[in-house]
Symmetry: C2
Subunit: 343 residues, 2 copies
Amino acid sequence: MAKLCGRSTYLLERPPVIRAFAAVGGQKEKEGPLGDRFDFLSEDNLFNADSWEKAESKMQRLALKTAMNKGGVKKGDLNVLFAGDLLNQCTGSSYGLREFMAPFLGLYGACSTMCESLLMASVFVDSGLAHLAGAVTSSHFCSAERQYRYPLEYGSIRPPTSQWTATAAGAVLVAEEGPYPRVEIRRACAGIIEDPGIKDANNMGAAMAPAAACVLRRYFQESATAPKDYDRIFTGDLGEVGSKLLLELLARDHIDLSAVHDDCGLLLYDRERQDVHAGGSGCGCSASVLCCHILPEMLAGRYKDVILAATGALLSPTMVQQGDTIPGISHLIHLHFAEKEGD
Amino acid sequence: MAKLCGRSTYLLERPPVIRAFAAVGGQKEKEGPLGDRFDFLSEDNLFNADSWEKAESKMQRLALKTAMNKGGVKKGDLNVLFAGDLLNQCTGSSYGLREFMAPFLGLYGACSTMCESLLMASVFVDSGLAHLAGAVTSSHFCSAERQYRYPLEYGSIRPPTSQWTATAAGAVLVAEEGPYPRVEIRRACAGIIEDPGIKDANNMGAAMAPAAACVLRRYFQESATAPKDYDRIFTGDLGEVGSKLLLELLARDHIDLSAVHDDCGLLLYDRERQDVHAGGSGCGCSASVLCCHILPEMLAGRYKDVILAATGALLSPTMVQQGDTIPGISHLIHLHFAEKEGD
């Protein structure tokens, strides 16, 4: 049974197991360093649909279907789905997953959604309220640019601090049991909204870094662990600008992350070769890097204990137009690779 | 500890207690039949802010602050907040609640949000992951009309099936313990997305009724209870059109709700006197009716067992413009009035 440590760190004592996972991506993701690790890639960013939004729904559907196939899971086996995305009214999730006819609890955590949904799925599985729970999210470069900044057709210039919203989706199935070797979710920590006062919709990294620093700082304290206890600590999509800022912020509290830190936004694309400026972003960024890189590396035995702190900028074009700032949030999960029982 | 019944009905065996609650409303809500029951009412629908969106954030802030004052709760006591609203990127919640500096798990369930947040809060409290959790939501007529239909300045004609988005917010604090007499959350049920194929953004009642029928049908089965076991069964905001449809849909399965059914959308306004067409709607509708009517009536001993099934239309203007339909969802909680221990 789960135990509360401190204010919002959840120690999952009957640790939920990652049964299966899948990642879906577009053309740019195919050309990136993780291109050959995706389960499904489409050269057509419309995924054969007739709008970007419908394409994004299709990506979530494909990701969940693929994860279910890989895990030998039927529709009726799903006790609950936790999902969300960047589209207004989270239509990537609700329209994408409606055909699964599963109990559905919609989330909005911007690009932190993969960790928020995994946190929820773990809590429900650990507390016996689900035998099997799904965590799904997505983002699409074209739907996000149109909604948050400018329609692509405007051909607007992107400043160096801007990040590239991933056209990607990820789905993870969390179960109460599973065969060894396996990846377990051992702890989770719910983040606090931090607002550093950034007003530039093209500088998400700086808007999110304080929230990531806050959740990591608090998690280390509440779990009585330190960076050295982890083989790798991944942040969601801070990119180049936000990653530097995160290390600086934590260094002020004498927490040195530099030896173990990686950022999903810096792993998904090759910044030398691909025109992504400060790195990747979007709910699909950390979701797909989790499913294409982090989990496979863990299952291959290369990492034993890993933190994933997905980061979200709670950016609203309406609020930015009204002169307000961009608050950030970050939720965190601790993944553990167990080779055999008691490991 | 919580127990899973069937697919997604949660039996809360150490039932979480409603510690305090508060409702905030605008001018029209003041003039309605529950007008004298709100904790805070503003004759100025801008709530002294300089945009409708900022007004909505302020309403959530006010609702939570008032509930905290009523419950004698300090900011640091909150283990976690569950909140969401209708605004794009749920800014009513994230901008409204950022100053509380509490762990924050954002939700998107459209007008079902009050039940979704209470379901989550109950699960976290029951499973020991929060001593105290908050559930908050809001809606605002002016921000919702602009976002979902037309700016108010267009003066567009509203058809008879249309509903009036409540300018209201509600906040409920859920605790692991509390003095008697008290209202407990005994069960909760997570709903499934139902899409009846409605394409008319002015007919939310019809879009949501099948989801309400689905969650009620399934809940009765999974909890082995029937309408006769409840003093009152409230739906969120089906209004006149959706309420009729709900009773018809359930009658087909030989479930007769007519003797105990009420709809929050039909309670908040006086349809004879106030120009709300088919009734009230919006996240703030069921949230404020819960806090102004249902909970006070229960604490006065008039209802012992109550179901609240908040209903959400997962309406997206973008998807409707692309010719897609409006899926609905409904989540449910069972409230119990306990006069003394063992009651």
